[in-house]
């Protein structure tokens, strides 16, 4: 089990960040995106190498309108 944006879900063995982002239609070049795992930002340059581990709490955010 991992948590993605506050929702618990299963995850396949060997799931990595690029695959997870792919599920949301996001690729390595998607702009305005950022990811944190367990409260720490994972820089875009490290996405490819970051495997998702059981228990990870993952935040995937984008830029929206705001005041």
């Amino acid at each position: 089990m991992i948590t993605v944006n506050g929702k618990a879900r299963d995850h396949a063995d060997g799931l990595d960040l690029p695959a997870l982002l792919g599920e949301a239609g996001l690729g390595p070049d998607s702009r305005g995106i950022a990811v944190a795992i367990n409260g720490t930002v994972v820089p875009r340059a490290r996405w490819a190498e970051r495997a998702v581990a059981d228990g990870d709490a993952i935040e995937i955010v984008k830029v929206l309108q705001g005041g």
Binding site: A34, V61, L64, Q65, G67
Partner: protein
Amino acid sequence: MAEDLFHIAGKAFTSRLFLGTAGYPNQQVFLDSLAASGAEVVTVSIRRVDMEGGAEGILDLVRDRAWLLPNTAGCATVKDAVLTAQLAREALDTNWIKLELIGDRETLYPDVEQLVTAAAQLVDDGFTVLPYCTDDPIVCRRLADVGCAAVMPLGAPIGTGLGILNPYNIEMICVRSAVPVILDAGVGTASDAALAMELGCDAVLLNTAVSKSTDPVRMAAAMGHAVIAGRLARLAGRIPRRTRAEASSPELGLIGG
């Protein structure tokens, strides 16, 4: 008149109006409003991606049109605010952050104790921090002391359009502040924005007053003029308030006199 530039953290701006990007009827109205306002800085928020796929973000829309100022709107803890700021930095490749840390969801009033703590952490982490804060001169000084690049006291609670509830405090903050003062929240109409500048603010940040007006593009233009008007009036040195009337036309030479 020489150009009247405005600097935050070493970056110069011409326009003293900051515009929020939320709540417009549609993207075109927002773009037209932005153009009409003359604003050079816009605020954006950081929100979770919808994993089912969802609305396009507005990044492509604004990236080339304005300086982006991400916010931590809605955060109620130091931890959430700091992480949101860090995510914003990653997503937007900027170290500027409008730091919001609210005390409760009903008033959206800043929690100044947490705000100072979060501001200090973010400054240490290399951010250019612009905190949304109360109109408390001591808190504003503290925020400057911990390294904030500006302070952004509220005129009135977010979205109320009540204007500047306490002009005395805003003016006192402006007189004493070592960093730029940007009035944030509460502006309802053009004269509110002009008044903010006359009280000594360096800039005005607003969103709802434009986006939720009946005609946002026209209101954006109004706000652009209002901020210029207030700034020029401040620089020009207004006449003193007098209790007694004083004629403008010559008092001598009246017929029948």
